[in-house]
């Protein structure tokens, strides 16, 4: 059993990404910094358009043609990935860093047998023979739970169900024993029962290989089940990060509160569900202050004018909200958040 550690394997520093559009540059990532520790799972949560996918695509060098990295570094093995040549990048991705995409229907080649597809990263990155690569493909396909893998190597993706296809995608990602797995909503397209199996599988792989995982999702239920640490993104920025318990039981940013409140649980019986009022800002012209301020019932004057810095809550937990400033007034917490804080307080009492 491999435990998560505190030693960073990847660090993203002050990343800024713009997209060129006819209306001008869209500031999709606005100064994002975080580290990924060896052997841990970091979940990045946020709504569509918050920049979570763009962040991991920057790591893989998979941004669209109209994207421009304006500033920042992505450090991996003492080198800046963003300075890599195409050749260096190709040596890295699919080998040291592998990615699992959301849609298993479109991330497999429908015209290539699955054995060849799963073995392809090994053939590209090592000088292994085709026969040995296929034998290795059988091994990882068995590992991810594809039955009769040896007999099914010549089958095509359409002969498998959605859940099986996602297992095949995962097999392809882990065949090179990557140090980092980037999983972009890998379970969003799957049924809950299959989702539970895939999450269990990723945890098992991590426990045996010590792979570090960045897991992107908008489902906080999934985050609670898989993450060691969590980063919450809003409008191209990280607004709060911390250990999974810190985010779920001691959340500080009103946006994190809104996300937690909007999730119905099986015990929700209120007449109406909580919704976050308004819509995310236009990133063509991001607002000067806290981007969440116009939708934030707890916003103060300063939120509209000045961007809040990160205020530390613990050595592992920080949030960018002026509510944590010593001069900020005490606010009455929403009931759901007060309930979660009580769990947190009870734990400290022990």
């Amino acid at each position: 059993m491999v435990q998560p550690t505190d030693s960073p394997i990847l660090s993203v520093e002050n990343l800024r990404v713009d997209f060129a559009t006819f209306a001008g540059p869209v500031h999709a990532i606005r100064d994002v910094s975080f580290t990924l520790n060896k052997g841990e799972t970091l979940a990045i949560v946020g709504e569509s358009g918050s920049g979570k996918s763009v962040t991991v695509r920057s790591i893989m060098g998979l941004l669209a043609n109209n994207a421009r990295i304006v500033a920042g570094r992505i450090m991996f093995q003492d080198a800046d990935i963003l300075k890599n040549t195409k050749r260096q990048l190709n040596a890295l991705r699919g080998n040291d860093i592998a990615m699992i995409f959301q849609d298993p229907m479109t991330s497999l080649d429908p015209t290539m047998p699955i054995g060849k597809q799963v073995a392809e990263p090994l053939r590209l990155h090592t000088s292994i023979s085709e026969k040995k690569a296929l034998a290795e493909a059988v091994r990882v396909l068995q590992l991810v739970g594809i039955q009769d893998a040896a007999e099914r190597l010549k089958d095509y993706p359409h002969q498998f169900s959605g859940g099986q296809r996602q297992r095949i995608v995962i097999a392809m990602a882990i065949i090179t024993q990557p140090q980092i797995l980037l999983a972009d909503e890998p379970t969003t397209a799957l049924d809950v029962t299959i989702q539970a199996q895939i999450i269990h599988l990723l945890k098992e792989i991590q426990a045996t290989t010590g792979t570090s995982i960045i897991f992107i999702t908008h489902d906080l239920g999934v985050v609670a089940g898989i993450a060691d640490r969590v980063a919450v993104m809003y409008a191209g920025k990280i607004v709060e990060y911390g250990m999974v318990d810190e985010i779920f039981y001691n959340p500080q940013h009103p946006y994190t509160w809104g996300l937690l409140e909007a999730m119905p649980t099986l015990t929700t019986s209120a007449d109406r569900l909580y919704t976050i009022p308004g819509t995310p800002p236009d990133l063509l012209a991001p607002p000067p202050g806290d981007a969440f301020a116009p939708r934030n019932p707890f916003a103060m004057q300063i939120d509209l004018a000045e961007q809040p810095p990160f205020f530390p809550v613990s050595p592992t937990h920080a949030a960018a909200t002026w509510l944590l400033h010593p001069a900020a007034p005490q606010v009455t917490l929403p009931p759901e958040i007060a309930r979660r804080r009580q769990i947190w307080a009870a734990r400290f009492a022990h």
């Binding site: 709504e47 809950v192 239920g221 089940g225």
Partner: protein, 326 residues
């Protein structure tokens, strides 16, 4: 075999009655698919019935059979007492049925014609059914519908691509409401939306129901949201209805092994609960051998798909669960 009295409470008026519905695609051919295999249930006037199950369980096919997008292979579907399986295409009765029953689709990107203005998308049904007295009346109706779903009049002259996923789903809802329906089938209407937007759309659907007394069939695989919106829940697996009861009953006292496995897989936004999760794996051999089974009431208003010799065990389990709760 099930009959009307089995899945119907005598006290409440029934709007939709499904009797032994069978839907087989390519019958008799090599690629025959038995999508729905002999299911019976009813939907009460004014209620929301949630229909849950995994992909391929037949829940969407059931919804489409109820709106007569498919001609049933066997069985009857009664809407307000009228057998819709026998309606002739183009007949006045069929046209009336098509107005009274509307559908909201899963994919807000694929279900709106990208080349039509929003006002024409919404008014298409109004035009077909000649509901507007004049052009001004048509515009007034469209504006009222836009306001009802939380959009404004300026949106009427725009095209679908100018809207976000949540806004498009609102347009889809306005289109369904335009013809003053009685029954709405919502096929995974929130699956493609972000969590905070899902809550907005669900609130909207609830508000509309409260105001207009609509009846909903809400098809979904997000079980937390289904529990929240539904009065009763039907669980489907492999084309069969395996359990049917009130929402609280299904969640608090599930009896069929498939329902139990489905509930055990729901992720809960609480790390302490998640760390203790043990998903139950459902083995279809447990409850789907080829013995004759039917939907049986094993507790008041709680139905399970069971063989004759399994009924007693289910009844005992239901009684035990309820006693433990007290």
């Amino acid at each position: 075999m099930t009959n009307d009295s089995v899945t119907t409470s005598a006290k409440r008026p029934v709007l939709v009655q499904v009797d032994h519905l069978v839907q087989t695609f390519n019958p008799g051919k090599k690629d025959e698919v038995k999508a729905v295999q002999d299911i019976s249930f009813s939907i009460y006037q004014g209620e929301t019935l949630g229909l849950v199950g995994e992909s391929g369980s037949g829940k969407t096919t059931t919804g489409r059979s109820l709106i007569r997008l498919y001609q049933p292979t066997g069985g009857d579907v009664l809407f307000a007492g009228q057998n819709i399986a026998r309606l002739r295409t183009g007949s006045p009765a069929m046209r009336d049925f098509r107005r009274k029953v509307q559908m909201i689709f899963q994919d807000p990107y694929a279900s709106l014609n990208p080349r039509m203005k929003v006002k024409d998308i919404i008014a298409e049904g109004i035009d077909i059914h000649h509901l507007a007295a004049s052009a001004a009346d048509r515009d007034n109706r469209v504006n009222a519908l836009l306001a009802q779903v939380g959009l404004n009049q300026d949106h009427a002259n725009r095209y679908p691509h100018e809207f976000s996923g949540g806004q498009r789903q609102r347009i889809g809802i306005a289109r369904a409401l335009a013809v003053e329906p009685e029954f709405i089938i919502a096929d995974e209407p929130i699956s493609a939306l972000d969590v905070s937007i899902q809550a907005q759309v669900v609130n909207l659907l609830k508000d509309i129901q409260a105001k207009q007394g609509l009846t909903y069939l809400f098809i979904a695989h997000d079980l937390a949201m289904v529990k929240y919106i539904s009065d009763r829940i039907a669980v489907m697996h492999n084309g069969r209805l395996v359990e049917l009861a009130s929402a609280d009953e299904v969640y608090n006292h599930p009896l069929h092994p498939y329902t139990k496995s489905l509930l055990s897989a729901i992720p809960i936004p609480d790390p302490a609960i998640e760390r203790q999760r043990t998903p139950l794996v459902y083995d279809p051999r447990e409850a789907e051998d080829n013995r004759p089974r039917q939907l049986v009431a094993v507790y008041p208003e709680h139905y399970v798909w069971a063989a004759a010799d399994e009924v007693a065990a289910y009844q005992a389990a239901a009684v035990r669960q309820h006693r433990e709760e007290r």
